[in-house]
């Protein structure tokens, strides 16, 4: 595995479509008429950049051995249905100890006019060692 702390990924745009928001709200037991659920950031923010990290061959994140250990979202405001947002991911840290690799992925999501919406911090733990049999 390679430590990739400091690595950044190209910004990804996402349009917040009402159907997707409603389905998400229903799945978490929120009111589908109450706008974008705060943790829809799992889709428009983390959901844009985590696949970039997982697909990064140099980062070599073993998806089968990965656990999502911690998650934080901070919002400047909640996203709105119908708007397009842009998310940029950065590997904030990448360390190993005692057979475990800890990768922290930070994502800044802003409106197309540049105004801030959300900051996501995800901590992934990957069990190292022998390949899965």
């Amino acid at each position: 595995m390679a430590a990739v702390a400091g690595r950044t990924y190209p910004a990804v745009r996402f349009e917040i479509e009402p159907e997707r928001v409603e389905a998400f709200a229903r799945a978490i037991g929120a009111d589908p008429a109450a706008g974008v659920p705060p943790t829809f950031a799992a889709v428009y923010s983390l959901g844009m950049t985590a696949p970039q990290l997982f697909g990064d061959e140099e980062a070599a994140v073993d998806f089968a051995r990965l656990l999502h250990a911690e998650q934080e979202f901070e919002w400047a405001r909640q996203a709105r249905v119908g708007e397009t947002v842009s998310s940029r991911g950065r590997v904030a840290s990448d360390t190993s100890r005692r057979g475990m690799r800890f990768v922290s992925l930070e994502t800044e999501t802003s409106a197309v006019d540049g105004g801030p919406i959300c900051r996501s911090r995800a901590l992934f733990v990957i069990r190292e060692g022998a390949p899965a049999s």
């Binding site: 997707r20 389905a23 998400f24 229903r26 799945a27 978490i28 037991g29 929120a30 109450a34 706008g35 974008v36 659920p37 705060p38 943790t39 799992a42 889709v43 983390l46 959901g47 998806f63 089968a64 051995r65 656990l67 999502h68 250990a69 911690e70 998650q71 934080e72 979202f73 901070e74 919002w75 405001r77 909640q78 911090r121 899965a132």
Partner: protein
């Protein structure tokens, strides 16, 4: 204090997989989940966080007021598990969040929220 009891089902986990786009087979396929050492398919941590944040939003007076939510995923949630989510005031516009299963085990720890006036 806001509280909600949720009995997790395969259907709800599958609905979250579709709506979130996280279709990792550990959330959808028992056989695959067992092949990577899990007891069977498990709920997304982000589904747990989504419910916890929904309860936090109720306690905060609406989702637009939420400014921060953070959690540590401490335990697996399987279909059939009954998890009680709660949000309790913890000082100035802060909430302590809890999610405890039917055995009294926390599935989310170090969970807090902050909200705007």
């Amino acid at each position: 204090m806001s509280e909600r009891k949720v009995t997790f089902t395969r259907e709800q986990i599958a609905a979250y997989a579709d709506a979130s786009g996280d279709r990792n087979p550990i959330h959808l396929d028992d056989d695959f989940a067992r092949s990577v050492g899990l007891p069977g398919l498990i709920a997304h941590g982000m589904l747990q966080m989504g419910i916890a944040a929904t309860v936090a939003a109720e306690a905060a007076g609406g989702p637009d007021r939420l400014r921060r939510v953070s959690v540590r995923f401490a335990g697996m949630v399987l279909p059939g598990d009954e998890v009680t989510f709660s949000a309790e005031p913890a000082g100035d516009r802060k909430l302590d969040l809890k999610a405890v299963n039917q055995r009294g085990e926390p599935v989310i720890t170090k969970a807090t929220a902050e909200y705007a006036p």
